[in-house]
Amino acid sequence: MGQTKRLKDVEICFPIVYGTISFWLGKKASEYNSHKWTVYVRGATNEDLGVIVKRAIFQLHPSFNNPTRVVESPPFELSESGWGEFEIAITLFFHSDVCDKQLDLYHQLKLYPEEDNGPQSTKKPVVVETYDEIVFSDPSEAFFLRVQNHPAAIVPRIHAGLNLPAPGPQEFIPEKKRGDTKDHPLGQWFMNFSEADELLKLAAARQQVQAHIGKLRRQLSMIDGPPQSSKAPFGQ
């Protein structure tokens, strides 16, 4: 089977976001139904995750009816109502060519806003999202070919040494689907995860630390007298 041929040292990465959005019901709230919430797993750029995920299982609190909810097709989401916060376990199952293992995600459902975010309102939901990346290492050739041009995937440039059949034009037919979350009704509440901001912060922090390291090195060498070759090899 060609499917079992694996690409060594190649990693395919799918940025995902999972979380919950919960609305307070306000006047309509009852003791056991104070909030309406939605738990979901989406592509970080709202692309369709159905390309890899076959099924998602949301494990709710045992006090719910049928607490194990299976979602067989994208978008992988589930809406419920309730009054309590609990941890939702999300298990993702992948298509057979992607991976035969499953992946567990855990999310703490949040219904009540933090105090400093103002009072509870029916207009503004409580949104908690987590960004993560699913990484498939040593993927099968078939999987690689199938997703290498998919917008949800981060696929490395393939090395010249690897001889792969050119992807056929039929590989990626954007059949009419509602798997992506680009026009999601809750889309306006989705959080923005900016890698660039994070990198900028990290770069600034590293610059400070490095400056401090340099200062300490100078102070050390001042105490030591003439700098020893082993102590300060970078001339900082």
Binding site: T45, V135, I154, F193, D197, L199, V209, H212, L220
Partner: protein
């Protein structure tokens, strides 16, 4: 015929005998010195309070037999040479006044100051710093004031310090002893010969003492703080001997990473969520350190799990306290302890930052150790004037990055840190005043 006959048992077991054979309770003997009633109360138990028999106590001295009077009587003292007649009250027993020398006369000690002849002086005792007249004067006064050098220094005609006077006196006495002894071995154990007077040491000792005694309370507090800090450093250095070896290889990678340019391939064709990703430098990850092999074997993992594992591996040599401090520093720098957008590049940068912070801590540790050494040698030699401030920049060392210094630190974080610590100094110009003191201080201890 009864049952006993059938069983063939002897019949001779009269009931009365059993009653008699009951053991008689032997009453314990009452110890002496305890009254019967008290003993009955305790019932032979050990008493709670120790009781002492009166007969065991010391007998009161038979008073009344002696007749004691106090009388105002004249007395003589062998310590006096002027025959001055003094009186004092004396306890007289049975009308017989005490005889003998005045009881405090034995404390009238005088020092035997050696005398030298002119010949001896010429031969052994000449000193370019001292004339014979001065030496004579010194020895006269030594005898006159019983070696009370403070008084001697006070009365001495020429201006000499106590140490100079002492030094001269002991040098002369020592030289005389050695010169007069038949062999050096005879006087080798004489205290004056064995331990000769070290003037330089005495001067230094007094200077050091006065330095210690003239310190202010703040200086003392600061010293105690530094000492406990030094102790802590020594302990942590003992505990984590291995960390030093970890930090060295890091240095190479640090530099390498920061100098990496933008990588050619863009991370994702769909970059609407990475609005700046083409402009932001995407750090290339050194091949070996990208992902733990154990995770790759799984064929499927989450980026955050990989990061957790790599963070753990990178800080495996650090103790839980150090890891706490790293995280504190991260939040001081305005960086999330766990990245909010853990992409491959962010994770790599995050990991490098953590490693650099560990390197920083190691350097701080080294610096503190070095300073402890320097100040230890300084403390023993007391070469530094007591007023010199010690290590005002301590706060800097502990928390190099204060939230105020960082523009993009979260407000929540900043607020919390405000309460805990006064504003740090990192925002100052790099050579902030406390730091610039260092070279001067070092020079002071060198000189």
């Amino acid at each position: 015929m009864d049952a006993k006959d059938i069983l063939g048992l002897p019949k001779s077991f009269p009931v009365t005998q059993e009653k008699k054979s009951r053991p008689q309770k032997e009453p314990q003997r009452k110890p002496d010195g305890i009254s019967r009633e008290v003993y009955a109360l305790t019932g032979g138990m050990a008493p709670l309070m120790p009781t002492v028999e009166v007969s065991h106590l010391k007998r009161r001295p038979a008073a009344g037999k002696e007749k004691i009077t106090w009388q105002w009587l004249p007395f003589t003292s062998s310590a006096r040479s002027d025959n001055l007649q003094l009186y004092h009250w004396v306890r007289v027993v049975n009308g017989v006044p005490p005889t003998g020398d005045y009881q405090f006369a034995k404390y009238n000690k005088s020092v035997e100051v050696l005398k030298y002849t002119d010949e001896e002086y010429e031969k052994h005792l000449t000193d370019p710093m001292w004339t014979k007249e001065e030496t004579d004067q010194l020895f006269y006064m030594c005898e006159h004031y019983d070696l009370r050098f403070i008084i001697i220094a006070d009365r001495f005609p020429t201006s000499r310090t106590i140490e100079e006077l002492k030094s001269r006196y002991y040098y002369v006495s020592r030289a005389l002893l050695i010169a007069r002894a038949p062999s050096a071995a005879d006087v080798a154990n004489h205290p004056l010969v064995k331990d000769h007077y070290n003037m330089a040491h005495e001067v230094e000792r007094k200077r050091a003492l006065s330095a210690v005694l003239s310190r202010t309370k703040q200086q003392e507090l600061r010293d105690a703080e530094i000492l406990s800090e030094a102790k802590r450093i020594m302990e942590s250095r003992m505990a984590s001997k291995g960390t030093e070896s970890v930090d060295l290889p890091d240095d190479q990678t640090n530099i390498e990473i920061t100098e990496k340019g933008t990588r050619g391939d863009s991370p994702s064709p769909s970059s609407n969520m990475h609005p700046l990703s083409s402009a932001a430098p995407t750090a290339a990850i050194p091949e070996g350190s990208s992902t733990p092999a154990s995770l790759r074997m799984l064929r499927l993992y989450l980026r955050t799990h990989a990061l957790d594992q790599m963070v753990q591996a990178a800080s495996s040599s650090a103790g839980p306290r150090t890891i706490k401090r790293v995280e504190q520093t991260l939040s001081d720098l305005g960086v999330h302890i766990k990245p909010k957008v853990p992409t491959k590049a962010v994770c790599a940068e995050h990991l490098e930052l953590r490693k650099e912070i560990l390197t920083l801590f190691n350097l701080q540790k080294q610096l503190q150790n070095k300073e402890a050494e320097v100040s230890a040698t300084r403390d023993t030699s007391y070469a530094e004037p007591p007023g010199t401030p010690k290590r005002q920049y301590r706060g800097d060392i502990d928390r190099p990055f204060s939230p105020e210094a960082i523009g993009f630190g979260g407000e929540r974080l900043g607020k919390r840190d405000h309460k805990r610590r006064p504003p740090g100094r990192f925002g100052d110009a790099p050579p902030s005043p406390p730091q610039s003191k260092r070279p001067r201080k070092l020079k002071a201890s060198d000189g």
